[in-house]
Symmetry: C2
């Protein structure tokens, strides 16, 4: 039983990696369950055994990315985010439009009634705001130079990251996402 579970988890991880590759190559719409199944040598029916819907697979992909970004040795430190590492994370995101597009498209869908990714994003935002407040408190203490508390600045920091992604995805030549994010960090830290 334990061996079967381990094999199933390994298979899931393999499918998520394949989905990430397909997303990077073909974007959100190109990443069909069929294309992902083909990549891992499964039938579409076989893939549905592990992920019952495209949304479930995409949520697993985004969870994997969060895992990597915040602890798996990605752009952010092992023990969480720091403000200068957020800067690097945005630089890194600007080099992977496929996954940013997937995040942004699924976030958009998630605000509609009874969407299967709604719970994921609601929980994720509560966690991200709490993390951001910790990062800001570590950097500035209980009051930022501009006068806000870490808890007041955290949703704004999160909102700027998400909002800039839409502007950048729509018109990458008009919006320098990393530069704009650095401007915001300067604004937070400006005395």
């Amino acid at each position: 039983m334990a061996a079967a579970r381990a094999r199933s988890e390994e298979r899931r991880a393999e499918i998520v990696r394949a989905a990430l590759e397909v997303i990077a190559e073909r974007g959100y719409r190109g990443a069909s369950l069929g294309a992902v199944a083909e990549r891992v040598g499964l039938t579409q029916q076989g893939l549905l055994h592990h992920f019952p819907t495209k949304e479930a697979l995409l949520v697993a992909v985004l969870e994997e990315r969060d895992q990597w970004d915040t602890g798996g040795g990605g752009a952010a430190a092992r023990d969480g985010w720091r403000l200068d590492l957020l800067d690097s994370l945005v630089e890194y995101n600007a080099m992977r439009p496929g996954i940013v597009q997937t995040f942004s498209a699924l976030l958009g869908e998630s605000v509609t009634e009874d969407h299967p990714a709604r719970d994921f994003f609601t929980r994720r935002y509560a966690q991200v705001r709490a993390h951001m407040a910790d990062v800001l408190r570590a950097e500035f203490g209980d009051r930022l130079p501009g006068g806000l508390t870490p808890e007041q600045a955290a949703p704004l920091l999160t909102a700027v990251m998400d909002g800039l992604q839409y502007q950048w995805l729509l018109d990458p030549d008009a919006v320098d996402m990393p530069a704009a994010f650095r401007d915001f960090l300067r604004l937070l830290g400006a005395r």
Copy 2:
């Protein structure tokens, strides 16, 4: 001919108003072409004569909202936006989740390949950033208290408005959207 065109434009305006009502009552997913057609006493086929797709109708709804918000006697002034009126606009948005949800869901879809609303949002953001820069210049001159130029602050102001909407739509009890936006305005103006 001119009379026929006027009648057609009147009909279009009537359909857009009906769509706004249906969105307010039933949200993004509930606002089907069938439901809108019924509201104005048209068959779905008759409605398709005016708007060939649901996306085309929703874009017309968002254009109508922009028109109203920036010039039609809504929360913003006749000659455009001012910074304190942006504050009122966000307050007003917090009272109309249906249209904010429609904007946010369609924005999410628009970043996917060849989406019919992609052009609308790309053009809209270029205009909104230019407007925001004008508003900021009128308020602060060529340099904001925090050190940014109006052109640097404009995409951030836009991003904060959009990003807060997602957090608020997902979890209205956890995110006070108007209060968070006022925090951001204080940050922009803080010396």
